[in-house]
């Protein structure tokens, strides 16, 4: 009989850790979002390879703001990872600290990025490079903002004491998104800031 493989086993009830369906859902969301950025970067390289004038038109963009920004995002991810490890052991405090720090770092990144935007001599309308630059970094900023909203909501829930060692899938899932935002930035950073310096 088929029951043989049921083993009369105890089963966890409800979303616990990686058993939550939402965990899978988030991975799928990230897969499709990653494709979105892949297509964006494809557009960048496609247009760059067809450019008749020098690319980028004003030379490679300065690293002065972008490098600290990158480090900040990475730091945010590390902090968040630490916070999430905390709640897995039931340490809500640690999660709260992690979320708060990541929030601050994320906002800092936005501020830096905003100042870089301000300083650019070109706009979205100047030429296709300008269109690409503002659209792609803008897309990423939008994802940072969404990520920050996620962190903020998680912070509220964590502060209410909703999470414990057993039930914290929302936090674990939200954190994956934050890591994704960081990783995508690395791809964007490489495309705009590093690739033009390579060849």
């Amino acid at each position: 009989m088929a029951e043989t493989f049921i083993h009369n086993r105890q089963l966890p009830v409800g979303s616990q850790g990686h058993l939550a369906s939402g965990w899978w859902g988030m991975l799928m969301l990230i897969a499709t979002e990653a494709m979105l950025f892949a297509y964006l970067l494809f557009s960048y390289f496609y247009l760059a390879s067809h450019a008749l004038s020098p690319w980028p038109p004003n030379g490679p963009p300065s690293l002065r703001i972008a490098v600290p920004g990158t480090l900040i995002l990475i730091a945010g991810s590390v902090v968040m990872w630490w916070g999430e490890r905390g709640i897995e052991r039931g340490k809500t405090r640690r999660l709260i600290v992690g979320l708060s720090l990541a929030l601050v770092l994320g906002v800092l990144f936005l501020v830096l990025q905003g100042s870089e935007w301000k300083g650019e001599p070109f706009t979205l309308r100047t030429n296709v490079y300008g269109s690409l630059y503002f659209t792609i970094t803008g897309f990423h900023m939008f994802h940072v903002i969404v990520g920050l909203l996620v962190l903020a909501v998680l912070l509220v829930w964590a502060a209410r004491g909703d999470f414990d060692a057993n039930r914290h899938s929302a936090a674990s899932i939200g954190v994956i998104y934050w890591h994704f935002v960081t990783i995508v930035w690395l791809a964007v950073f490489f495309t705009f800031y590093i690739a033009p310096r390579l060849g």
Partner: protein, 646 residues
Amino acid sequence: MATIETHRTPVIARAADGSATSQKLQRTWDGKPGLGGWLSTVDHKEIGKRYIVTAFIFLLIGGLEALAMRVQLARPNQTLLTPEQYNQLFTMHGVTMIFLYALPVLSGFSNYLWPLLLGSRDMAFPRLNALSYWVFLFAGIFLYCSFPLGKAPNDGWFNYVPYASLAYNPGPNIDVYALGMVLLGISTTVGSINFVVTLARTRAPGMSLNRVPILVWGTVTASVGNLFAVPAVSLAFFLLWMDRQAGAHFFDSTAGGQPLLWQHLFWMFGHPWVYAIVLPAMGIVSDGLPVLCRRPLVGYTAVALSTVTTMVLGFGVWVHHMFATGLPILSLSYFSAASMTIVIPSAVAVFAWIATIWTGRPVFTTAFLFFTGFVLLFVIGGVSGFMTAAVPVDWQLTRTYFVVAHLHYVIIGINVFPVVGGIYFWFPKATGRLMNEAFGKWTFWVMFIGFNVAFFPMHILGLLGMPRRTYTYADNLGWGTPNLIVTIGAFVFGLGIMLFLVNAFVSLRHGRPAGPNPWDASSLEWSTSSPPPVYNFAVIPMVASRYPLWENRLDDGPDRSSVGTGLVLDKERETIGTSVLDAEPDVILKMPGDSYLPLLVAVAMTAVFTCMLLHSWWGAGIAAVATFLGSVGWLWPRRALAQIET
């Protein structure tokens, strides 16, 4: 308050309809009555039916548009439609059929059938399912909002720039298309995520991946394909909107942009998409046809693999829509060969169906006629695709009615025929009544003959050099007679569709009662009553083979599935979560109840796009905040879902 249980050992017991267990389940799963219940339901069966009905309404609208075009084209130099009207009609016809009919109707089938096929109580994300339907509905309405004003999208369904750019198309036409497609993309994406996670998580114990029906393979392949492909088109339309409304230059060749970038992005999506709108339909046939041939499908594994292979290869052939754009010969040759390669998995499937018929004992039901008719139409449509895959031949055939013939043979042949056959097949399951068989066979012949009369001559028109998307033509080119035949055939086919709908409507009330398993079929959905109860299965079945209801007769393997006896999960809304490959029970999942939030979030999202269309940035901001708040409410950790302890 007591903390909620963290672990439980599910009871295995027998429970029939009407038992105490099933009465309890009925109470927990039943939705609210009345309009409130209608708007808030998350039942996959309800949503599936809505998808199908809505898609059919769009089929009728798109069909009427087609008939209007056919009247205009019946004779040379007609003036029934102005050129601009004609352009909007063929564009909306393509958009409606491809985006609002072809995929949604299959989403409907899969939504309805999946949990029943998989032995589960609902999709992995019931509320997301509702959201996906509402957004689809609203996106459809959105795409039509400018139609009554005579400002509908007018650049064809693939919407090439620069004709779609502001300089040549200043009205709202293209903005409606661009924003509507981004909105619709959200629906497709969340729907696809739901299918993938459902397959990964909520199969009945024992239903390992090599035991799921082919329809499930088809849908999950299409869904993964969508997750990878849809971002390309959403992005393309977003960039176009940026060009039009923010002054960007992505496609503007005077400022470094490239018109061909549009074509690449569109077809990187477009080609995988055409397989997404047929693979689930081919799954319908792969599951339905064998039942009517009284034997299992020949080559289950080969067909499942061919499904996946088609999609994988489908990502590498998009340039065959761009053979005449002046790309280097080397890359054309590559894409030509790749497009020919994609014939191979299709051949596998075709020969598997033929073998199933040949080695089986076919029963002549209406569904059988539709399924076998489909095989022939697929081959006719497929070989014309094979001809256009040869680069130099395509230089002649592309953008002529030959391509129009190809696309209707494949889409109607592989989508509409299996869908109609599938409805004949599963109608008794969904409604408890059989559709009229004798009338059904008549319907089939009207549709089949009408279809071929309408679309076969289009090949000839293409070979006579008639370009597509022309609102009229001169009388001295020999195009008059074939066009007249096409128009007559189109009306006959339209009549066939009407007859089918009449049959469905009448049978709904007056059809012969069906009983749980009228076709003596093999898969799990036929083990529950017709129509199935809200909770699908009183106990979650346990599966030991690919054909749980045929095991004794096929006598394959020592194990036997258990369908009347299974896991009793009757505390609140629950179903079983299983492991990805082998479907070992993993977790008892708590399922959400009915909720207005999907509808509210869908309304808010649509409001964002509507405000963007109207350039009301404040409105868009407010609607975005509403979307966000709705989502937070949706995700708020709930005790009932065991997301928090206290």
